[in-house]
């Protein structure tokens, strides 16, 4: 039994090595999927890494490693939400978290807070596709793969979300 252990670890290690290359992006995606709750995002990302390591052989290479892994993070976060570990609303915690960070540039904090407030007011699917395209710099087709929807559906969410977010950002910017 012990003889087989190094082989098992070696199986997952190259994959995890590749995942480490885009760890900051995965962290951003986990934060988004968990409504920007840091503790929950950390748990979700850790569990997603464990799942990826356990299913190292399942990655066939058909899609990119990033979209495959983002799909795992998304499903893990959804399961965590279903378990009802956290019930706080998407927008409330984030606003507080951004405001309470000490020693940050207040103006930039306010801009980020503004984005989060606006994102909280659009549909979850629209929010998701906008994050994947603008934050993660994926194509709409890759975003569709992560979200598990057709490219046409993702494109529709993308255009509607963009219009809604632009309207909200402009309106927030116009306010004193």
């Amino acid at each position: 039994m012990r003889d087989r252990e190094p082989a098992i670890a070696d199986d997952a290690r190259p994959l995890l090595h590749e995942l480490a290359a885009f760890h900051p992006q995965s962290w951003g995606w986990a934060l988004h999927c968990c409504g920007r709750r840091r503790d929950e995002a950390q748990d979700v990302l850790q569990e997603a890494y464990c799942r990826a390591a356990s299913r190292a052989g399942a990655f066939a290479g058909g899609s990119s490693l990033r979209t495959w892994f983002f799909g795992i993070v998304r499903r893990t976060a959804l399961e965590a939400h279903r378990r009802g570990a956290r019930t706080a609303r998407w927008s409330d915690r984030d606003g507080d978290a951004v405001r309470q960070e000490p020693g940050r540039d207040l103006e930039r904090d306010e801009e980020r807070s503004r984005l989060q407030r606006c994102l909280a007011r659009i549909a979850p699917r629209q929010r998701e596709v906008l994050h994947l395209v603008f934050y993660q710099e994926l194509t709409v087709e890759q975003a569709a793969t992560v979200m598990g929807v057709s490219p046409g559906t993702a494109r529709q969410h993308y255009h509607r979300g963009k219009q809604a977010l632009r309207r909200l950002l402009t309106a927030e910017g116009a306010q004193p």
Binding site: W27, Y49, R112, L115, T170
Partner: protein, 123 residues
């Protein structure tokens, strides 16, 4: 405002968010190390569970096969063999410890054959 302006506005807002998030992500090495250890544990547990399942299945199959197979009847021959064996053992004991065997009490017969006749010395 053109579509390109929309994109620029939104992209700028997300870029700020990305820069902020990238400033303090949790340590990748620790998380990935834990993931490797967890994967190893999961596989080991799965292997143990698989072996236990295989053993249980084998035992179940053995029980089913044993129940289905016709039980051989011992027959009178087997009883005679058993008695012969007992006779040999008694004879050996009579040689080593003759005082324990009384002449009459050792004899018995089965199916016309006699056993336990007092051939050993008695006093």
């Amino acid at each position: 405002m053109t579509d390109r302006d929309d994109d620029a506005l939104i992209a700028e807002a997300f870029a700020r968010q990305r820069a902020h998030d990238a400033s303090d992500p949790p340590p990748a090495a620790a998380m990935l190390g834990r993931a490797v250890a967890a994967a190893r544990r999961r596989r080991r547990r799965a292997a143990i569970a698989g072996a236990a399942l295989a053993a249980a299945a084998a035992a179940l199959v053995a029980i089913v096969v044993a129940r289905r197979a016709p039980e051989p009847s011992p027959g009178l021959g087997a009883v005679h063999r058993l008695c012969d064996d007992l006779e040999r053992r008694f004879a050996r004991q009579r040689e080593t410890d003759p005082w324990r065997f009384a002449a009459a009490s050792d004899a018995w017969s089965l199916d016309g054959r006699s056993y336990g006749s007092p051939s050993g010395p008695t006093q």
